[in-house]
């Protein structure tokens, strides 16, 4: 007799089948209720968390899109816009975009090598390189933890103290990059560390067993295996520090004109300081456009870097 066939329910055999559903519904009735309640709660929490996000995006996009959508925004700086209302067609932010991207690049150039090498030391040498290395690694790891807790204003203050008070130098836009570097290093170090830990030990051993020295194993076997995650993590770290404002306010002057010179003593513009600079005058339509346009551009920039990170991650991922 078939045990699964519904048509045979008239036969006397399914006595057990009848006993089971009773037992089941009795139990799963309460469980199903709790399950439904929990599902509703989770969804509710999710929607509540979504509200501010959607709200922010909605306001920024609705108020900023017409600035961002015009070519002037990307092509012109703020020259000709003084005195206020002088030329209502000029709402450019090229100077701020260039400043943000340029300082971001300099920050990456300094921070990523330091962070990746720190992570290599922590994972490849600290974990298996004898007592002294293990002790140094513990101290370094602790330092990275501390560094990741430093507020951006303190990082800026530190750069100010070293650059101006101790070295007696004039502030230049590179100082901002130095402060951002301090904020970026711990983020990238941690993400790189995680990626290196994911590389199976068997690959290192396979390489050693071929008579390949340790440093070459790290460079030619471990890094290529982890590179996709390292790049993604580095770009996420960059996206994370691009929106910082305190170092810009503290270490450079908002400069209204386009400049590519990171050592210009007149200062440099950035998207966060464009927003800050114009927000005092937000009742004027030009300034309001600049504020919301700047906010939207910053969001788009960070989004683009995030997407780029994921794309590179996907392209360089180890294929099977």
């Amino acid at each position: 007799m078939s045990t699964t066939n519904q048509g045979s329910s008239a036969a006397p055999a399914p006595a057990v089948d009848e006993a089971l559903p009773d037992l089941d519904t009795g139990r799963s009735g309460g469980r199903a209720l709790r399950n439904n309640a929990a599902t509703v709660l989770v969804w509710l929490a999710f929607l509540i968390a979504l509200i501010p996000l959607v709200w922010i995006l909605w306001i920024v996009v609705s108020k900023g899109w017409h600035s961002v959508a015009s070519m002037t925004w990307w092509q012109k700086d703020q020259s000709g816009a003084l005195p206020p209302g002088f030329d209502t067609n000029i709402r450019g932010a090229r100077h701020a975009i260039v400043g943000t991207v340029e300082i971001g690049l300099i920050t990456s150039l300094i921070a990523i090598p330091i962070a990746v090498m720190t992570a290599i030391y922590l994972v490849e040498y600290g974990r298996s390189g004898g007592r002294t290395n293990a002790r140094i690694a513990r101290v370094v790891s602790f330092m990275v933890d501390i560094l990741s807790g430093i507020p951006s204003i303190v990082a800026a203050l530190f750069v100010f103290a070293v650059w101006v008070t101790t070295l007696q130098q004039q502030l230049v836009p590179i100082c901002v990059a130095l402060a951002l570097t301090m904020l970026m290093i711990p983020v990238v170090t941690r993400s790189t560390e995680e990626m290196l830990k994911l590389v199976p030990n068997e690959l290192r051993e396979a390489s050693y067993a071929l008579g390949v020295p340790k440093w070459k194993t790290v460079v030619r076997v471990v890094l290529p295996t982890a590179i996709s995650g390292i790049i993604t993590g580095a770009l996420l770290g960059l996206a994370r520090v691009l929106g910082e404002t305190a170092p810009w306010l503290f270490l450079t002057t908002y400069f209204q004109y386009l400049t590519y010179n990171p050592a210009a003593s007149a200062g440099i513009a950035s998207l966060p300081t464009l927003i800050y600079n114009q927000s005092g005058n937000i009742s004027s339509p030009i300034s309001a456009d600049r504020v919301w346009g700047g906010a939207l551009t910053l969001i788009l920039l960070v989004l683009a870097i995030n997407l780029l990170g994921r794309l590179i991650g996907r392209l360089t991922r180890v294929k099977r």
Partner: protein, 258 residues
Amino acid sequence: MGKRIDVKDLNVFYGDFKAVEDVTMTIEPRSITAFIGPSGCGKSTFLRTLNRMHEVIPGGRVEGSVRLDDQDLYAPGVDAVGVRRTVGMVFQRPNPFPTMSIRDNVTAGLRLNGVKGKKLLEEKTEQSLRGANLWNEVKDRLGKPGAGLSGGQQQRLCIARAIAVEPQVLLMDEPCSALDPISTLAIEDLVTELKDRYTIVIVTHNMQQASRVSDKTAFFNLAATGKPGRLIEMNDTQKIFNNPEVSATEDYISGRFG
């Protein structure tokens, strides 16, 4: 090719834990030696001292001497990296480099040690893959990732990678334990062929395998968990399987163990 290994009074430690105690044995050149024994008795640990892979593990250290022909591997001034070029190793789980193609996997040991020349590397690729009985299966897709092969093919790729650097000795730690019977037979045939050129040491839990491929068999055991493993008996494989001198060996082989 193929060198003799002389181990004398070897103790192996993980930090303060002595994992293997007082091993003395001689492994003849161009022979196959099988290590058998219960799990945890230190076969892998001992095997890894023969190419100084043991010291890669934090706290790993060794007392005693291992001689390769006339050279003491643990003498001061001997470079562990150089030792590993002479004594190759194949691991329990196939571990091809995932970022490299089949071709690059085979020549990895050469390229990473600075050997250049397209022609030479190509010859080496074919020669090693033929040596590992894999050439016919992969010759049309040498540029494809090594990790895309089947488990048995991957293991033969690892063997090709190991023999491409032309070692004198080949250590294999349970090379077939992750493979099906057909792939296992393929590897056993290969090991028997490789015997003409290399000194081979193979760890196995498979008694039939030990008796099929090896000339000599070494039985390791440990008195109790937490105690160090010891070499109980080493002799011709025929003798070990038919007429062992120590009763523990017979108990283990006939399955009356523990």
